[in-house]
Amino acid sequence: MNKIKQVHFFAQNYPQLQGLRMLPPALLLLLLTIWANQQHGPATDLSLPLLLSAGCLLVYIGIDQYYNRRYGKVKRIITRPEWLITAAGAVLALAAFILDTTDTFMISLLGLVFAGAFAATGFWYWRPARLLFALNIAIAILIGVLSLLPLVGIQDWWQILGLKHSLLAFTFLYGVFGLLAGVIAHMYFIRSLPAAEAK
């Protein structure tokens, strides 16, 4: 029965389990954060971010080809609640980003949205896979706690990372944890697929 449940889980989440797909967007976010952190005033030359975006797109295409040729392709059933939650998350992230740039709140709203994104991913997709579930929840708690640190008087902790603003700290962390979660999901994927029958 467990084998059947595993087949169901894998078929349902096949593209998400192919964790290397997360690497190019996470890496792009990380590189753009580092680039933005080095800017003094409004950026005038956007050639480097454009070049990085193009590079990450190419890497993504390569990863997509690798998975399709080596593991095949599964078209997922995307439910209406999943679309709605994703769209709501994007709107919330944009609103949090705008509010965080105004420095109105002590806490980081973008950090809380990112924490929510990791928690939602954990609960929505990974509950049957303990390792991935635990990883997502641990990342969510860590980012959530860091977002709320100013409330207990710990301010500007991001300067330890050499970053200028809380916004950059959370995009940096989202990139780092995205890379980590992607690599672990990929390892879980390749190790958990059933072994091929003996011919």
């Binding site: 084998k3 059947i4 087949v7 169901h8 889980f9 894998f10 078929a11 349902q12 096949y14 593991y71 095949g72 392709k73 599964v74 078209k75 997922r76 059933i77 697929l193 059933p194 072994a195 091929a196 029958e197 011919k199």
Partner: protein, 107 residues
């Protein structure tokens, strides 16, 4: 107890074979999957997978679409509406069987 035996006897033999049950479970969980993905998901060899898919296709439980993608043969498999109904009924039967066997008490 005889009711349990009749429940077991009523199980769909085509579906109850482990490889076909795995295939139908995988296909019920997604829109469609290609041949390679089904091989990876079930661990079946290509020969066995072809045989099981043919049986399921003959029974009208799955739809198989063969084409060429980037000059390579590509086989897409999806569950039919009838197939979805049949696998859901099968799971329900298995669940009932499990529940009945747990609830059974000696007279």
């Amino acid at each position: 107890m005889s009711e349990v035996f009749s429940q077991i006897a009523n199980l769909d033999k085509l579906l109850h074979e482990p490889a076909r049950l795995s295939l139908m479970t995988a296909l019920a969980a997604c829109k469609s999957a290609d041949f390679l993905a089904l091989q990876r998901l079930t661990g079946l060899t290509s020969g066995n997978l072809s045989v099981h898919l043919s049986k399921l296709e003959e029974a009208g439980l799955v739809a198989v679409e063969k084409s060429f993608k980037e000059k390579r043969p590509n086989t897409q498999v999806s569950i039919t509406a009838e197939g979805r109904q049949v696998i859901e009924n099968h799971w329900q039967q298995l669940e009932n069987l499990r529940r009945d066997s747990q609830n059974w008490r000696p007279d």
